[in-house]
């Protein structure tokens, strides 16, 4: 690899945006619309971030895909935007000209991006079935596959860990795009400004001992629930994964990991109250007879239209129980047992049983700059901002800005507004440092 370094390809842009979630897309569109040339680098095989994977979104309940795909398409077709997907960020440094030098590895898809036409013939002939993480693990995907129907770009990738190298995909591919010998390829993007839009990850359920470490059947994460509720979800309807039964009682557990130092996160994850209320409302539409209970500490419906949304859900019959859930257990009857400390009526430790339990797990930073970039994370692990009141997109590294959940959990509305702000700060920086 060392010998190649000198010949490594260098692409030049005005700005680079790390992360192709809704924050990164909005920032790049706002920069590109002003005439700046922008590179977007996305780790995943598709842009769109979490938002493209959601069912419907609070508080308007519009279909998430319907409002994400136009932005994905606008970025993909924009003459000033170049998107690099399935790329790993190696480092961001500044050179002597004060430009950012960003080292990136193009991970091998084992499918030639320029040849693949996204027809999925390879996918149909592939004999391997694996749990599809894009569907919460509830349905299957193949070892060579296009991530999902509205992924951008529509390009297949091969999963080398699970592929048996049977060669069927290679034979069927009409453009001869399958390439088993693809290697990772490093390249460099040089730019004068950069925006971090690396988003968040959900705390892994496996780490959550209190709630069964992922071992109790029918205890699922909120992101899995999004898939169960999506119009193009894994089942036809909302069913509980263990036995395909229609759940008659569903519990949502708030602050499962947030606002609780003992679980590692002392902060509030900010979106869980609202998405649980949203899921509860969608669920009561899908399963009108089911009992739906939200266990919470404080309902944080702070955004525009959110309180009204919360009140509507209560009026629709969603039960809200103030209490901290301490423990979950499986039971022989196929139900999940729940022990919680009630802060209502007579209080004390209470128990309840539900067919399906959805956890609002805490949100963690999507990326750690340690060893890759000189920007500092704050005590909460998210990217630190230096002027949170007057310029919330500014980091402690000159020319490097932050947008969206990368600087702390955030809903889509706040993310998009902040992404605009980051683009504005970056444009001003580009202007100050002399743009032709």
């Amino acid at each position: 690899m060392n010998a190649e370094k000198s010949t490594m390809q260098i692409f030049k842009f005005d700005a680079i945006v790390i992360g192709g979630g809704i924050a990164g897309l909005q920032s790049s569109l706002d920069l590109a619309d002003q005439g700046f040339k922008v590179a977007v680098v996305e780790r995943d095989a598709t842009i769109g971030g979490k938002m493209i994977r959601l069912s419907k979104v609070f508080p308007t309940l519009d279909c998430s895909s319907c409002i994400t795909t136009p932005k994905m398409a606008a970025a993909a077709h924009h003459e000033n935007i170049t998107i690099f997907t399935f790329c790993e960020l190696e480092s961001i440094e500044r050179n002597t000209d004060n430009h950012f030098v960003v080292r990136i590895t193009q991970k091998p898809r084992y499918v030639d991006q320029d040849k693949c036409i996204g027809c999925r013939k390879c996918e149909y002939v592939c004999p391997i079935y694996l749990p599809d993480s894009e569907q919460g693990g509830f349905s299957a995907r193949k070892a060579i596959y296009v991530p999902f129907s509205n992924a951008v770009p529509q390009i297949a990738l091969r999963d080398p860990e699970n592929c048996l190298l049977c060669g069927k995909c290679e034979k069927v591919c009409p453009t001869r795009a399958v390439d088993f010998f693809q290697e990772p390829e490093e390249f460099i993007v040089e730019s004068r400004a950069a925006i971090l839009a690396t988003g968040f990850e959900m705390m892994p359920l496996e780490k959550n001992v209190q709630y069964g470490s992922g071992q109790i059947p029918d205890v699922i994460t909120a992101l899995q629930m999004e898939r169960l509720l999506a119009p193009h979800g894994p089942y036809n309807r909302v069913l509980r994964p263990s036995d395909g039964m229609e759940p008659e009682s569903v519990a949502f557990i708030q602050c499962a990991g947030s606002r609780d130092k003992s679980l590692g996160l002392s902060y509030c994850s900010r979106v869980c109250c609202m998405y649980s209320i949203k899921q509860a409302m969608l669920l009561s539409g899908a399963l009108p007879l089911a009992d739906i209970t939200v266990y919470y500490m404080d309902i944080r419906a702070y955004g525009k239209g959110y309180e009204q949304f919360f009140q509507n859900s209560a009026a629709m019959g969603v039960q809200f129980v103030k209490g901290k859930v301490a423990f979950l257990n499986g039971s022989d009857g196929g139900k999940v047992k729940l022990r919680y400390e009630s802060q209502e009526k007579d209080g004390g430790v209470q128990t309840a049983e539900h067919d399906l339990v959805v956890l609002s797990l805490g949100l963690l930073p999507g990326w750690n700059p340690d060893g890759k970039c000189g920007v500092s994370p704050a005590s909460d692990g998210f990217i630190s901002t230096v002027l949170p009141k007057s310029a919330p997109a500014l980091t402690d590294m000159e020319g490097l800005f932050v947008a969206g959940a990368a600087s702390g959990p955030k809903d889509i509305v706040d993310t998009i507004v902040e992404a605009g702000a980051a683009a504005m700060e970056a444009s001003n920086y580009l202007g100050r440092t002399g743009r032709s």
């Binding site: 002003q34 077709h77 009409p174 309902i299 009204q308 909460d380 998210f382």
Partner: protein
Amino acid sequence: MKRVTKVVSSDSRVGVYICHCGGNISDHVDVNAVCEKISNLDGVRTAKTNSFMCSDPGQEMIIEDLRSGEIDRVVVASCAPSLHEATFRNALSRAGVNPYLYEHANIREQVSWVHHGEAATLKAERLIAAAVAKARLLKPLDPIRIEAKRHATIIGGGIAGLKAAKDLSSRGIEVVLIEKSPFLGGWTAMLDTLAPTGEKAADLVSSLAREVLEHPLVTIHSCSQVTGFEGSVGSFRLEVQKGPSDSGVPPVKDRGIFIPFRGYLPEEDEQPCKAFVVETGVIVIATGFKPYHPKNGEYGFAEFEEVVTLPRFIRMLAERDAGEGPLSIGGKEIKNIAMIHCVGSRHIPGIHEEDESGKLNEHCSRNCCSATLHAARLVRDRFPGTHVFEFYRDIRTYGRFQEDLYSKASESNVIFLRFEPESPPVVSRNPRADGSSLKVAVNDTLTFGERVEVPADLVVLSVGMQPSDVSDLIEMMKLPVGADGFLQEIHPKLRPVELSVAGIVLAGTCQAPMDTGEASAAGSAAAVKASAILAKGYVELDPFIAEVDLEKCRGNGECVKACLRQGALYLKDFDLHGEKVRKAQVDPVLCTGCGACVAVCPENAVDIRGWTISQYEAMVEAIARES
């Protein structure tokens, strides 16, 4: 026999290109047979196939046929238009042909991937025939271009407005900022230290105000209000009235000064009262909020002088000498403070009482929890002898580092009591002569509904945020307002700072409650939209708008009535052959191209460019025809 008479200019020459998509289409559709049939259609000069139309050789084929003059318009039958319509329009442009002389037939997602066998072939043929039928009727179109003056006007000089002014001027855009009051800084200037960071509001306002004042591209008009509005995106015209200053402060020279709990007073204008006109390309509305004013008797407000609002209390605390001694009111020591949350917020119909205008504030005001906790902590830090009791419904410390405020308040022994909206705390005189003059009683749900009475020397009401009164601007500019009374964006996620009036954007708390950091971000987000509009000096809009055929139009005005976008269609008097006639006209800036007008015209005189009714009719005929 079924030949339909065509209203087509006979000279349209269509080239049809059918994609195999490497078997994706050709495995199910007999592409060659379709090509053969299509080449016999009227108006088709050539029909060709290729394994990948989107490839360079595929596109070259089109470009060559266009350049040679054999064809003058194109149909490509391939995958979904979302994937490659833009690719092929581009190819037309490269061949020097208007890109709108193009029609797409979707025979992959809507044929070969969903149908099989002969049926798939027949359907592909019908869809292509329909595309040809439309293509024959296509006309060249040009995007609509509107000149835009590189100038922005910001209404409101709070944090959001100042931030937008700073950003836009940094982009080299001329800015006029219109502020109603004599001061800059809005409500932020009425605060002391800010939750949760603890920084001084005065520093925040002063540094931002100075930066804006010093920028050569910014002109600030304080004590000014917009009194007239006309025009559209790119060229608005505002009438502004500047009144006398009622700051009560002697005029300042140079850069101006910050006056605590008033705001930043800019340098005085020589000519105090005047009316003037501002010509501008975009308008940023940043008119902010006003705190809820409690009703007389609400939690004892205006009934007991010991009941104050949070803004008042923040000022009391700040103005209290740093010296020793306990916190006091009217010479009397304050031993106990009761702080009541959600005053004027989170109203529930049926539980809370409407105001005189029948309005409830159903929204959460977002800032008050943190601001209240912050004030409580300051009290506990500075006056350890003063106890603080907080009466709340939910503590909403949602934002970054706000939760710390909550836990630190608990650690510093602030006592929390939780109430249900149905049984709010009751403030009354304390009959006992044991000290505190007031008491606050509540059913505390944290102690399982126990009735608790708390003595209080001072009661602080955490008042919510309401939109400031901008009914004049709403009326003038036709600004949309939400059910909560705040200005309403087009779409909270797709276009969160834009209003349905093109060229007017929203910044800050005139849209919804926000804290100062969020208002700053909103100011920047509004600025970046404004900057994008003004970047090129012109605005380019889709050509797909309504078009009136003046020959057919008889000026009956049905379309104007049906128009969903006020002003997009209007009747105008023309001189036609010496005769005065009245006909419909389209404002290309306002028209969104929805077509609501098309359906109602009795003369069929209106159409949407690129999507005309006759094109649809031709397509339906082609589809209905047996092959």
